[in-house]
Amino acid sequence: MKKIYTLLLMAFITSGIWAQDFKFGKVSKEELEEKKHPQNKEAHAAVLYRSQKVYYDFDERSGFTVNTEVHERIKIYDKEGFDWATKEISYYRNNNGEEKISNLKAYTYNLVEGEVIDEKLRNNGIFQEEASNYKLKTKFTMPAIKEGSVIEFRYTLRSPFITTIDVTPLQYTIPLNKIDFEIKIPEFFGFRFHFNPRSSIYFKIDTASENFTYKITKQVREGGTRWNPVRHSTRTAKVDYLQNVYSIQEENIPALKKESYVDYLENYAAFIKWELQFTKFPNSPLENYAQTWEGVTKSIYNDAGLNKELQKTGFFEDDLDALLVGLVDEPSKARAIFEYVRKKVKWNDYLGFIAENGVKKAYKEGQGNVGDINLLLVSMLSYAGIQADPVLVSTRNNGIPLFPTRTGYNYVIAGISSVEGTVLLDASDPTVGYGELPDRARNWQGRIIRKDGSSDWVNLSPTYISENSRTVNVKLLEDLNVVGKCIKKMSGLEAKSYRDSFAPLATDEYIKILEKDRGDFIVTEVSNENKGSELIENYSFELKDAVENISDQIYLKPLLFTSLSENPFKAEERIYPIFFNYPKVESNTINMMIPDGYEVEHLPESGILNFKDGAITYKFLVTQNGKYLRIESILDINEIVFNPIDYKNLKDFYSLMVEKQTEAIVLKKI
């Protein structure tokens, strides 16, 4: 019974699909006639087939090269899919070599009066762009595109950079019907592969090995001794070796869905990264690349010059000794050094975990890249007797390192190890506080690397709470205008974000921002001051249309202009995790005096909301004391990453919070 069922099912599946031929040029009528993608009716285009073959080639002059042959067939369903008729291939060059595209061939297929008509991509549709000194692009756009067209292209990318294999894409933002991937790597190269752990799609990868032979033909010069005149002869040598073959054949890979509030969409696509672990050529010693964290750490300390940079202290010793006079405990020393480096060396906007200019030069010139600045910081902290080490970081758009690697990182910060834990410092940012990291450096985990070769993961997400608390004291006048004062206290990353966004603005520009979208709201006497690590803002205001007077009753929103009027979560469903930037407390307290001749008719009820065992909580408290009303609204975001499964509850939580904040207070004329 079970067997029959399976057979039936198979028959059912195959009957719906025509036999497709993925040979280049064999585009069928059925493919052209298809009006919509069978599984995803809303897709504007789909990759019907993608084949990617990667292999090493050898020739005597240039040695090994890595070749990538790509063949893709794309169906365009409607006008919104026309962008897929344009393709961009990026490749690289540097002083050691240049990647090259060859054998680019492409056709557009259309159904014209029942006939399959093809149109070739000619040179006038192919463009070369030198995007920068290192980056080249070949772009092409297909001729004769209309709704329903199928395009097909193939090309070979030949690369002299044999120790790097590009990321293998396995998913697009449109459906991918069939992928055929194969990579053959000679035994001389020890590569390991890593699937993206953030993608939920499973791919089966087959591994095998096969024999391979290449022939070397050499002109050999012989003789030249007295009895033996010079002769030239041709000799052929044969080298046999093994190739490791990895392949994937997969069908019906769904489109990568775009969503908002995702840290970086490409981080969720299915792909494979290739990591070189070693090379071992005949008659050469094994060369280790990155196999273990210890290897990575040592290679960074020794080969990348970290050791050298951290040992240079002579140039700052006098300055630092002077700075540290009178400071006894470690934290105050560390703070002083952090502030000093930050003031002394400005960031030049370049990333990197290596000191680009060298710490000494950066110190002298007062500017440097991230490596210059934070390695200088580590070096100074160490000099002051504080246990500090570099922490390797990968910025958000640089992806997440999946394996011990040097190249996966592009940023470095300083980590102080103490009994309380690790304190992370980034002196490249002018507004971030001690122990805090700017956005760009907060990507998942970093790797602290120590001189002795040991290393550990370090959590980069903040564990401290950033605060944003507003106290608004208002008086409701008899003409029903509201006047008052607002005091806002900010700490941690909330204070940083305020400094970044508003510090550069002139006062009247900033007033415009405060007044924006708050109705007839007039702000005066704005000031702000730093109090320790806190930032305090003060202003006075007048609010004219906050109150509604309806038949002897006054209606007003309890939180006045500070309320959240819309739920930020609007979509019904969610695929990717939800990220809040950092843990924080957002509180608004309104102290209100009610005008003479009025009394309270209705107050919203106090209440507490709790999401996921206190991961997020919301308190809304209303108290009345004679003529005074106090409304407190406190949102605590303690955890910052939530799985899609929690999305609906989170959305509901915010809905309830918005409801609370928008329920009216009613006052009645006595």
């Binding site: 906007d349 109705g519 509604e548 009216a664």
Partner: protein, 638 residues
């Protein structure tokens, strides 16, 4: 007289030579220049030297003190170039606030990359610029360059204050012309400033000192309407090796026709036959034009390829016919060729496309515009075709090319013409909504909305979104409605009489608040786009509203069965020179159902008003917002 000018000339020139010697401490800047400024131009010297019809040198020294982060975009230390422009010299200094040099950029330190951005697939334009991000303000950048250019058709304007929040300590412009090519120039808005100048048949010099920064003001004219500007052109010129001469739009248009457009319209006999068959049964010529436009939309797509003579020459019609794509020039020329094959004349029209209304300057002929559309005169009508869109209706311009001066390039010369203006009543958005509310404030609603004119062009692309994006679009637009669920969405695009219909079924909760037995019911189920304008105590420039709009809303609230009305706001009508607003609220019982019916309309006129009227406009909008926000009170009876 002549001699004095010569002295002045000499004085200018030496300042350029000594420019590098000067240090630029911030302390020497006059206080008035800090006001409203994000950056201050310390010294801006442009010297253009025309040595031949196809050769000129442009020497620049631009020293800018940046006061804050926003000022960084005003530095402009770089050159945009292509095969036609050679950068001979490029260097920059970063100077701290005391005038000390911090960093030096030599030519090799400049970043060089292609200027392919956004929707453009390819362009030969490149940019060479310094990449410097300081973390301390103020600082000063001194930029010095010399470029050699062949296309003398583009002579840099003198536009000393080319941005808001930018003040100028000193700006000098010199045009030297050893080649003695006659020039034309047009001065604008110079009168209210103390400007020293020397002008002759061949040469120009301008100097100005102490220009304070302009503050951005909402609803204000474009900056070129009030800031000093001198436009300059050579009467004999070259564009990427193609020489020409022109003194006015007629001649410049004629030259463009002869050199860029002519002989680009050939089509294969097969295509001509196809178009003939297509239009054979058309009832009249207008119908033929429509059929041909539709054919272009169905058979081509837009791809931006900015190559060819400086990006000014269209691909030939035959090539577009073959490739089935083109940029605005190529597609417009192609449509023109298809029309011509049926003996229908039409004209290539160069325009500034964009939401802001920007004219081709009627008074001064030079290479202008950033987009091309097609003008087809038919009887007494001017039909305009946007050939880059596969979805735009026939003769629809929308907010991208409406109501502005364009240049028609005809075989006998250029001609300035205005495109269609949409009046406030053309730009109508009409909404009819029926809302059923229960005792707890939960609601179900049916929305019907019709959009015309410019709003049509803004809304119809929503019909191409996928279902979940559509939902998200409405959830954002109606963000004030709580727990909104979109149950049904129907769109009808009436392409023939541009009109977009939206029919939605939605539900949600807490529409209004339940306070004991009372239900507080807001009357604005949808919000009007009346702006919350910023206050402006001393408005400087006139108020300009470029486009008028009108809105008509009809809301029918069906109330819970067991309820009585306690309060409804008064009917109100406001009429003034900016437009009008009207709200009428009526309580009715229909078929045993209690209903509130709200009729609301809002018209915003386009026009120009003196600066002092700004506060009145602001009040008008504040008033509209608070009148729309009024609520009714319903008492629930059990």
């Amino acid at each position: 007289m002549r001699k004095i000018s010569f002295l002045v000339l000499l004085g200018f020139f030496t300042s350029l030579l000594t420019a590098q010697e000067r240090s630029y401490p911030v302390s020497t800047i006059d206080n008035s220049l800090f006001e409203n400024a994000n950056a201050i131009i310390r010294n801006d010297e442009i010297e253009i030297e025309v040595t031949a019809i196809n050769k000129m040198f442009i020497r620049t020294e631009r020293t800018v003190t940046v006061l804050n982060e926003l000022g960084e975009e005003l530095i402009w230390a770089g050159e945009v170039y292509d095969d036609d422009i050679k950068i001979k010299k490029q260097e920059a200094l970063i100077i701290d606030q005391d005038g000390n040099e911090i960093k030096k950029f030599k030519k090799k330190d400049f970043q060089d990359r292609s200027l392919v951005t956004g929707a453009t697939l390819i362009s030969d334009a490149r940019i060479s610029y310094i990449d410097y991000s300081p973390k301390v303000y103020p600082f000063t950048v001194q930029y010095i360059s010399e470029v050699q250019a062949e296309s003398t058709i583009f002579i840099k304007d003198w536009f000393p204050v080319n941005s808001y929040s930018l003040s100028v300590e000193k700006s000098i412009y010199t045009l030297r012309n050893p080649a003695k090519i006659p020039i034309r120039f047009l001065e604008k808005n110079l009168s209210s400033h103390k400007i020293e100048k020397f002008t002759s048949e061949f040469e120009l010099e301008y100097l100005v000192e102490h220009l304070p920064a302009y503050k951005f003001e909402k609803f204000s004219p474009g900056i070129k309407e009030f800031a000093p500007l001198v436009k300059v052109a050579l009467n004999q010129f070259s564009l990427v090796g193609v020489k020409g001469q022109a003194e006015n739009w007629t001649q410049l248009g004629k030259w463009q026709y002869d050199n860029l457009l002519d002989k680009k319209m050939e089509l294969s006999p097969e295509t001509v036959r196809k178009v003939k068959d297509l239009t054979e049964n058309a009832t009249d010529v207008r119908e033929k034009i429509k059929l041909i436009y539709n054919y272009v939309q169905e058979n081509t797509r837009y791809v931006s390829v900015q190559l060819g003579i400086g990006g000014w020459e269209p691909m030939s019609a035959d090539e577009v016919d073959h490739l089935k794509y083109g940029d605005c020039k190529g597609l417009t020329n192609y449509t023109k060729a298809l029309l011509a094959s049926q003996n229908i004349p039409s004209y290539y029209a160069v325009v500034y496309g964009g939401r802001e209304l920007k004219d081709i300057d009627e008074e001064f002929a030079s290479m202008e515009g950033n987009h091309v559309i097609l003008n087809v005169p038919y009887e007494r009508e001017n039909i305009w075709l946007e050939c880059t869109s596969q979805t735009s209706p026939f003769n629809y311009l929308g907010g991208f090319t409406d109501n502005r001066k364009v240049l028609l390039i005809k075989s006998d010369g250029g001609e300035i013409m205005e495109t269609t203006k949409y009046t406030p009543s053309d730009n109508l958005t009409e909404t009819k909504i029926s809302v059923t509310i229960d005792e707890t404030g939960n609601f179900n609603a049916q929305l019907h909305r019709e959009s015309f004119g410019v709003p049509y062009g803004l809304i119809y692309p929503v019909s191409d979104l996928d279902r979940s994006s559509k939902e998200l679009y409405y959830k954002k637009e109606f963000g004030h409605l709580k727990n909104l669920k979109i149950k049904e969405i129907n769109h009808t695009n009436d392409y023939l009489h541009p009109k977009f219909l939206e029919d939605l079924k939605v539900s949600g909760s807490k529409y209004g608040s339940v306070l004991g037995k009372r239900l507080l019911l807001p009357l604005n189920f949808t919000n009007l786009p009346a702006l919350n304008l910023p206050r402006s105590s001393n408005r400087e420039r006139q108020v300009e509203i470029n486009r008028g709009f009108s809105y008509k809303d009809h809301f029918q609230f069906i109330l819970p069965g067991s309820s009585i009305l306690e309060f409804i706001p008064n009917n109100t009508i406001i009429e003034n020179e900016f437009g009008s607003f009207r709200i009428e609220i009526e309580y009715a019982q229909v078929d045993g159902q209690n209903m509130l019916i709200v009729e609301r309309s809002y018209v915003l006129q386009d026009g120009k008003w003196p600066a002092k009227k700004y506060e009145e406009l602001r009040d008008f909008m504040l008033n509209i917002n608070s009148l729309s926000n009024q609520k009714a009170v319903i008492v629930l009876t059990d």
